[in-house]
Amino acid sequence: MLELKEVCFTIQKDGDPVNLVNQASFDVPRGHFMAIVGPSGCGKTTLLKTIAGLNPESGGSLWWDGRNLSEDGDLEPWEIGYVPQFSIAYDELTVDEAVETATRLRVKCRNTEELDQRIDRVLEETGLAPIADRHIRVLSGGQKRRLGLAMELVSDPKLLLCDEVTSGLDPRSEREIVHLLHDLSRNDGRTVILVTHSLAHLELYDSILVNHEGSVAFHGPPNQLTHYFSVDDSEEVYPTLAKQSGTEWQESWAKHRQAYYQKLARTRELHIEAGVIKLPASEEPAVGDDEQSPKKKNKTTPPRLPSTFSQFGTLLARRWKIFFRDRTQVLLQVAILLCFPILVTFFAERGKEPIKRLSDIPEENIVLELQSRVEVREDQIRVGSAVSGMIMFEVILLALMGSNNAAREVAGERKIMEKEKFGGVRPVSYLLSKLAFLTCLILAQSLWMAMFVEFFWQFSGSFASHVAFLILVNASITAICLAISSVMKTPEQSSLLSIYLVGFQLPLSGAVLALPEFFETLTQPFVSAYWAWSGSIEALGGNIHTAVDVITETELSPGNVCFFALCAQTLVGVIVAWMGMVRHQWDN
């Protein structure tokens, strides 16, 4: 049984505490279908989120089967299902794939047979079996809500919370969904709580909870609703609510609560006797009866969460599937991969030109000696500029690729990630899957860039070091943008910040214009492009290095320092990305 004892959820508004959930006290037994209704903004969803544990209760306590959820540990991911208002599936997947992924992420199955059975059961239960092969993007609103339910039912939760899953649906779809939820609450002692603003199909619920200004104004049988509010029609309940404050309604309700709860208990007993509500043997037989024999309790074996590695594999497989099914994304990646290196090679000819050297024996004629020096300097400037520019061009384009790789990676699917975390997906599995996916992109982009450019312009020096620096600059920008993506609230913010990050790389690198010394000291540690450019130039050998050194005012750093700086940036990016993924951001 779910019990709320004077639960409050308080926020600070203009320095004053405001109770969005005001001392809510009510009981919901097993195998019960309850609706939380109330006018817009009355705190229905806030109450549901408080039950789910997404809003920390500021006072009071929540109990589940005699367990204080704040002190004895929260509901296990398999015990609770939460269907939010938004879609929790990727449009690129089919219904079957979405349910399979949800199952693989939430339930540890012994074998494929058990996995298939679980998926088939859920598809049948939600009526999705006939459209299992259909892509999510073509589903109707009602079908998407069913899918949301199906993805929650894979772990066979004992408490199912649904937030406005009927809103925006046509009357027929709404009726179907409410019927489905009603049916789901009839078996296995599953408690279903639906938040809705609709007062249709009230007869299907076991109880109705009316919320007003964060306070419980009524919780009782649906057929008593009009009687309690002294109205002729349920549609008149909301206007009647407005006549008193939430606190007044709550005080009034407290006086009648016991009488209505007795009616609820009597109806429930009748339903159990008639077999309308089927409780598993291990569950309580009636409201208020908490006694269960230990022998019966042991009968239910709770599903176990899959391992971190298993979740990582499932998430990675899904990421690749979504990537390859998104044609625009694939085309963009291929275009970037092919076109960016071509841009660099436009400058290859200048970088290949020979550089004159001074003779070991100086010219006796001072004019000839000076002329010779001028010619050498001209060559150095021409070739040095081209080589430095090409290296910086490679670096900047790879930084741009890194930004494109990661800027939306987490922010773009934040809601789905939060929902999956709620269902038991570990942030570290999520992070690892992102890193594995992005590493493949980084390697493909950086190696192709290095080898393609090498084909047209041979790198004079340690090519391996140059490749390493190209990979590292892409990795560091990707990691930093992944961090931005996991911290930012929206994908738009994340993309914008990531583009700014790349945009500032070139001017702040000092490769084009040397920065004032104090400014250089301040910014250099954070500019990935500088370290990759400087490291690559350090990897150049002899004459070419001297030529680049001649045209560069900015001080170059040793290769090992550049390597360390880029690795450190990557590591910091990954750590911040992980922190952003761990952080609870459900409301973003």
Binding site: L54, E538, P558, V582
Partner: protein, 133 residues
Amino acid sequence: MGRRASSGLNATALIGIAAVVLVLVATGTMLLKKGKTEGFTGQPLPVEETFSNATAMRRNEYTVEGKVFRIESRDSGVGVCLMVGNEGGEEEAVFIKVPEEIATINLERDVTYAFKIRVGEGGVNVATAIKKP
């Protein structure tokens, strides 16, 4: 045992992150210090004498340390000009020829290097070893 809303970064994770940051700072400092090795030991180059009596110094070996301000690519290697402090506390420009087989590290302007040199037959300083102190 809080609820989901209160779950987040725990103390162990924060300690781990702090440890990683410390390791990064320590490694960075170590890398930067690593470059500051000692110069060569040996007789320092008498800078003023190189202008007045270079031929007398032929076949002698010296050590010299200074900031490079000019690098020239030459047929048989690199020629570097560096500013070296003389006995009077003033700075003088010294030219050193660095053969290709000695120039194992990339020489850069505005960077200080230590050279072990041998004065050649024509009085030209030829590097026999280079370090970046």
